[in-house]
Subunit: 160 residues, 2 copies
């Protein structure tokens, strides 16, 4: 199939310069602030976004070099299929985070609960809408016991 080509729409800034030590999910990043600079040519698309308290960010894991179809996640000691994990080593290194939107000033967004590396290229913003985005899953696989511990875990250098 044809390759799909995207252009970054902006850059995410955060306090995390390296993956080691950073939170592995937003649950461990409560209160951590960052900013997004949207490139000028996309500024008009920000209209009305300020009405939303939470936004979905889709971005490119720009520091991830290795791909792997089986990985051992931070929250586990067993190798798992990469699609059953939130590791950055997926075949297409697309990250997703839901962050709190604090303010928009021109092309600059202030955000909170940030679990994203500094300098990350942003691909898309969508409003977070409970009626669209919330489910009540009956099963969360290997994460059943581990999901509540994400706030206590920090990343290490295992995912290059």
């Amino acid at each position: 199939m044809e390759a799909i080509v995207y252009q970054p729409i902006g850059i995410i800034s955060s306090p995390y310069r390296t993956r080691a030590g950073m939170p592995i999910q937003a649950a461990g990043a409560r209160g951590i602030r960052g900013t997004i600079k949207i490139f000028p040519e996309f500024g008009d698309g920000l209209k009305d976004l300020g009405g939303f308290s939470h936004i979905i960010l889709l971005y490119h894991f720009h520091r991830t070099q290795e791909k792997a179809l089986v990985v051992t996640p931070f929250l586990d000691d067993q190798p798992r299929g990469v699609f059953a994990t939130r590791s950055p080593n997926h075949p297409n290194a697309i990250g997703i985070s839901i962050v709190r939107l604090l303010a928009i000033e021109g092309l600059r967004l202030s955000i909170e609960d940030v679990d994203i590396l500094d300098g990350t290229p942003l691909l898309d913003i969508k409003p977070y809408v409970p009626a669209f985005d919330q489910r009540k899953p009956e099963r969360v696989g290997w994460l059943e016991k581990a999901q509540g511990k994400a706030d206590q875990h920090r990343a290490d250098e295992r995912f290059k």
Copy 2:
């Protein structure tokens, strides 16, 4: 900035051959079934995925040709900044849907609550995990009144 290049990992099949008449969100697609065929080279990444009742699909809106920074959404009669909408006309046409995972047989995933066009190239699968993916937003902007009506709305041809 450098362009980002992704390769589809599979293809989504659904009953929707055209956008007109299809649900605008999974809320209006309850019970609608589809399938995903994962390309053989990515099959090993599916290990352990069957333990999750819900999965996040990231895909490319392959039938969307026009980009627009301001759009009038299906659920509204006012023009809105595209990043404040879930329209497919974002600068990078990445779609996100949370679907129910019914079964995995080899490279074939059976899914339910599908609001995705037939033939859509799949970019990524992630497990849906409440501890990571659920927020309680205080504000959902222009969607405040409209979000509950998504299940009654069908798409038309406005987004080319």
